[in-house]
Symmetry: C2
Subunit: 402 residues, 2 copies
Amino acid sequence: MPLRVEIDRDLCHAWDAEDPLRGCRERFDLPDGVIYLDGNSLGVLPRSAAARLQDVIRREWGRDLIKSWTSAGWMALPAEVGGRIARLIGAQANEVTAADSTSVNYYKLAQAALALRPERRVIVSEAGDFPTDAYILQGLVAASGGRLQLKLVERTAIADALDADTALLALSHVHYKTGALHDMAVLTAAAHSAGAISLWDLSHSAGALEVDVKAAQADLAVGCGYKYLNGGPGAPGFIYVAEKLHAQVSAPIAGWIGHADPFAFADGFVPAGDVRQMLSGTPPILGLAALNEGLKTFDGVAMREVRAKSVRLASLFLDLAGERLAPLGFVAACPREAAARGSQVSLRHLRAESMMADLIAAGLVGDFRPPDLLRFGMTPLYTRYVDIFDAIDQIAHIAQRP
Amino acid sequence: MPLRVEIDRDLCHAWDAEDPLRGCRERFDLPDGVIYLDGNSLGVLPRSAAARLQDVIRREWGRDLIKSWTSAGWMALPAEVGGRIARLIGAQANEVTAADSTSVNYYKLAQAALALRPERRVIVSEAGDFPTDAYILQGLVAASGGRLQLKLVERTAIADALDADTALLALSHVHYKTGALHDMAVLTAAAHSAGAISLWDLSHSAGALEVDVKAAQADLAVGCGYKYLNGGPGAPGFIYVAEKLHAQVSAPIAGWIGHADPFAFADGFVPAGDVRQMLSGTPPILGLAALNEGLKTFDGVAMREVRAKSVRLASLFLDLAGERLAPLGFVAACPREAAARGSQVSLRHLRAESMMADLIAAGLVGDFRPPDLLRFGMTPLYTRYVDIFDAIDQIAHIAQRP
């Protein structure tokens, strides 16, 4: 294993110097003295966001007020933001919009999917997936008065759980704890074979992986604005509805912004033709404006490069962890194979919770998920190879403290 | 009619000098050269908002990142904002929270109300009310597969439309077009007599009137953050659930933030006990922070004073309009009696649309609602008597142009 002896801090510096994404780091305002491996929980501040928000607040809101709905493009902002996200996930611009929270969007699309298969009773999802998704589905089942059923199955049993009674297959593309990556194309095809609709939660893959909803023939998807998309705390989420379904889906929360002509103030709801019909209330302008700046950090960036660097960063982390952290009681809790992994690494340790608190205090930010998981996110636009090297140093140092 | 000859610009100045709320105008950054009578559509910029948002963005997000969920009180922000709104509408702090859009919140509470009366089939609401509310109710009816029915009745026929099959009475407190004000206590009592749940949309009354949900025994309410509450474009809305219903209601969009312990990441949904169970996704921090500053403009202000000034402003407008605008083809389209009116005046004119465009170009901002309505909002924290005097001058001037 010559790898072990060859990787040192200088080599990491050399990799950073050759990194085709090295210029992207300047697009962010990074905190001093911190190695931030938590962009999968909250993306860092884009350098342009503070000034842009000041302009939105002082000029667009403060001076131009109500006319900014047209003159500043506020009404068009969900579509503008949606268009930027569309490029990152392989969708068309008219298939993506930004609104509400991921949870609300997940609810809307789950409802829309169930309405497309009214004769079927079963929702299939993964056991132990991110709680909000399961809670939303549980809520739909509870509200159905016994008609619907939620089958939470292990990830290896998902394809076999699909049958002629399955209305909806609802999955996270990347698992929030383990970072394990589903094959979207294979599982969507399995859902379609069974006659079911697929709903993907891209919260941990959009902006980090080469997502291609069109190639996968995905039906519906949601995702998060404040993780890899750098949209700021509680940023609006996004909604993808494949064009093939635009004429069939109905808007579950049929608010005025989903109307074909909101400012006609007509008495009856007439849905906008495309993904816009999934919008409900007035667009959250401050959140959308910040998310738009977050998305601009991807300008000119190929997702292929992002994925390639993410894989290298995570492999470096896992190689170094295998060498230096395994002897200290750490166990890898994510797939070893890069192709089966999202953009995070997860380690288990019996003292994970207190250790993460100590790491954060020492300037290495990851996060803890109960009961014993340490998560570290790879965000290729601003994470350097040397950061990974230093992070392993820091973890080893903290773990060895008496 | 001595009133007619006595009101001049000097008198309006004198009233402004004596106005107990005169100091509040300094709490806002008002645009130069504009008379803004559209705070019922988008409230103006609070003076503290730009600096506060810079701090949220640069320090809380940019520097402290993920730890701000606790250290900067982000997780507590929905409750903090809710507490401020509670004071304005006569609720307890644990009965109000801020989240999502008004449309989404309206959907949630309508769903929750229907679940409380599963054996009843009818929703009663007002014909010609704000479209998003009607659209949402129409959507619920459509999704019910024929079980539910929406009765849209004229405002004078509402009480008579309630019967033993009514699940929900859903009304706007103040009508968005005419400014007509419902008696919340009387209609809530009528709903309760019929065994129905009441849902109030306070978008055009919270922050403008002496709303008292407790005295009215209102069950459920929503409202808008960006009108009289000055929360900024697309600000989060709010949700009120009376304490008496906390143990009975279920969360229709059961996301993780409505869970009793979100960060336990438990598999099963356990609702938070109070109004928090109506929260769904991650709180929209930028929007909530701006709304919080908007609400601080009410610090130390008694809603009794706000209402008293609103009535005087509107009466001044209508008196002057009767004298100077009626001869020019304007017809009042709001109740004459102050007690029956919210905080806006509405005029009809055959050339309303082009006239409003001309008024806005000349620096008087109200808004147009089809087919022939001009709306002017009274926002007592920053509207002066002299503004009303000048507005009438401006309207008369524009109307008389060849």
